[in-house]
Symmetry: C2
Subunit: 408 residues, 2 copies
């Protein structure tokens, strides 16, 4: 599976600002009892973006454990987990960086590290956090234990050395972070392996990658970094194994295309699924899922689907692809069988399906149904609903297995 | 990465029966304090086979947390983790199945479920354990919560319905287990998705797969099951995605070969590493690592190495392959750079290197140096030793990230 980090532009569907009642099953932080001794491998965090809160859940018996509030503006919020899977780090849109404890159900610390930010990453050894910023641009690096600042990467460009917004920030093996400069059209590789000991990030800058990169992803093995370009056809590919990495144009015809299409929501690049020998990705502006050869990065199939796809998620065994869609067709999920390329099931869980997250070995998939204030849990073998949980306008769902994956 | 489960025949190097002193850093279970509230994502278990004990370790600061004794005969022992990463299930050679608590450092329960057994697996939803038995043969299924028996798969074959030894037992997606009948030369697929509710395992039996299958593995996505054949050239491949799975012969020339070679130790099939576009595997009886195309399963390269390889382990990003060797050359590790196929480093940590385990995102690799009673921890970026821990004749090393991987 591959993972997007940030999304610059999006046109979201209507936003429901309903008055929420707190579901009975969710304990407030204030009421938390003595922390329970428990493993953390089956835990997860659900973003409730309208209320600036998250829920802590567990997947073994599908229950909500607690709600933590006061996390700021969580639109497009994402999060990463500590290497021991005890803590989650929440990247809020307002520049807030919060560390929450999944065992005591407490907000451990919150810093506002920029005026406007869009996602982050945790280094492969778990020691560093990196946050991608719009205002004032650049990337900030923090000690994950303390949230103390470690380094700032200013992302200056051009003759005035203006600061660029950064997008598509991911971790890469070897203590590195990789990110894209939206305004500059550049990709930077930052080796931060010596930063905790006081060293500066060592930067490799790739220029002229293309116009208006809006998001990026890294392949599951951390080798390929791919940036989407809003300003032109195609995408920029970097092979991070190369002695001197360069940005190469791939998938001409992908992206905005020559025709001006009504794009309701730019697809998340997390929505690139690796399954079998290919990548599956959402077409931009079309009711299609594309399959791309994972070696040549050339397109080899097109699957017609219900609407403009947003997330194209592979079941962990790569046998199925689950797809959700942009407004106004965002009440539907379609399931594609990979060997045949056929849609084998269509689900209508409710209004505004925003995200899907599989358990690590794929025995469950959790679906956020924002406008119904509900999370649905499916058994992907039978494609039947096995549980539901209440949630306040849920968006992103994140399980702790991500702590052990490159680029998530 | 791919994983072997069992190994029928092996000729191990000399066994050191030194008198062990308990390392000062290892707390005995009896002395355990009140359990510490902590995450479980950075924990691991090290098998100390001479003393029938395991150590619980953590990788963030490279420390030993506790020793748990009384686990029986741990030669060729392996283990799996619960879905919440709190418990480990240890499969001992004497038929013992032990559940240990990584947080309280206690042996929760031990059952002796057969006279002689060789490995096991945990179902993709974490609810069932399966154990592979030599005496009386077959596979036993247990409730992972209670260790109560759920089902027995007798593995009868031939006109007398004799019970076959079973090897190569792995979990597969969809609540299935797959294993190989050593005496019968068959592969069985057991769908146990209804067993917890009282249903019987639904069996699919593949006959005539070849002579003397000694071990097997499953690919990281759970699609391909491959059994090694001691009795003939080649291996047996099953595509578990097929509507009617069949066993197909691959890699003619692999296995015992036409020449009778002095094989000091049959390589573990866990030692098949998936990296880039290929599998890397130990040649049998030769001082070679073979690379095999991951799509066609045909051999495409041979890399000369120091001795007969035992484990061929990929760093999680697939950029490096670490190899250890059979007696008498088992004091050495070689590191292969995947893009060039060259050996870039040779290490001599000490006598009897038995196993290697990478952390989930590859910032560390732990190495058991049995005859030095030591575990060495390396930084794979720099290939330098960063820590050592005392251990009693350590063999297998297992980290909790395995709970989230198919077939491990």
């Amino acid at each position: 599976m591959v993972k997007r980090r940030t999304l610059l532009k999006s046109i979201t569907g209507g936003f429901t600002a309903a008055a929420f009642s707190t579901p009975a099953l969710v304990r407030d932080v204030e009421a938390a009892e003595a922390p329970e001794l428990r493993g953390t491998g089956d835990l997860g965090v659900i973003v409730e973006r309208a209320s600036g809160s998250v829920q802590i859940v567990e997947t073994t018996t599908h229950t909500s454990l607690a709600r933590i509030s006061g996390l700021g503006d969580l639109s497009h919020a994402s999060l990463v987990f500590s290497r021991d899977e005890r803590f989650a780090f929440v990247f809020a849109r307002d520049g807030g960086l919060s560390k929450i404890d999944l065992l005591t159900h407490r907000l451990v610390k919150r810093v506002v590290q920029a005026g406007n930010s869009i996602g982050g990453a945790i280094s492969d050894d778990g020691s560093l956090l990196a946050v991608s910023n719009y205002k004032p641009g650049g990337v900030n690096i923090f000690n994950s234990q303390t949230l103390e600042p470690i380094a700032t990467i200013a992302a200056g460009f051009g003759s005035n050395n203006d600061l660029s917004k950064t997008v598509g920030l991911v971790d890469a093996p070897g203590g590195r972070f990789v990110f894209t400069l939206y305004d500059a059209g550049e990709i930077w590789i930052a080796d931060c392996s010596k930063c905790l000991a006081g060293g500066k990030p060592e930067l490799t800058k790739l220029r002229d990658i293309g116009l208006l990169p809006y998001d990026a992803l890294i392949s599951g093995d951390g080798r390929y970094y791919i940036a989407g370009l809003f300003g032109e056809d195609g995408m920029a590919l970097v092979d991070l194994w190369a002695d001197k990495p360069v940005a190469k144009r791939i998938l001409n015809g992908y992206g905005r295309g020559e025709k001006t299409l009504p794009v309701y929501k730019m697809p998340h690049l997390e929505g690139w699924a690796q399954a079998g020998d290919g990548f599956y990705l959402p077409a931009v502006g079309h009711h299609e899922v594309l399959s791309v050869n994972a070696r040549t990065f050339s397109q080899d199939n097109t699957i017609k689907v219900h609407g403009q796809p947003v997330f194209v998620m592979a079941r962990p065994d790569g046998r199925q692809i689950w797809v959700n869609f942009a407004h106004p067709r965002n009440d539907t999920i379609q399931v594609i069988d990979v060997p045949t390329g056929k849609i084998i099931k269509q689900l209508k869980p409710g209004k505004a399906i925003l995200h899907m997250e599989f358990t690590a070995r794929g025995d469950q998939v959790w679906v956020s149904v924002r406008d119904e204030n509900r999370i649905d849990v499916y058994d992907p073998r039978t494609i039947t609903r096995i549980a539901s949980l209440q949630a306040q306008a849920p968006s992103g769902i994140f399980f702790t297995w991500r702590a052990g994956r490159i680029g998530l």
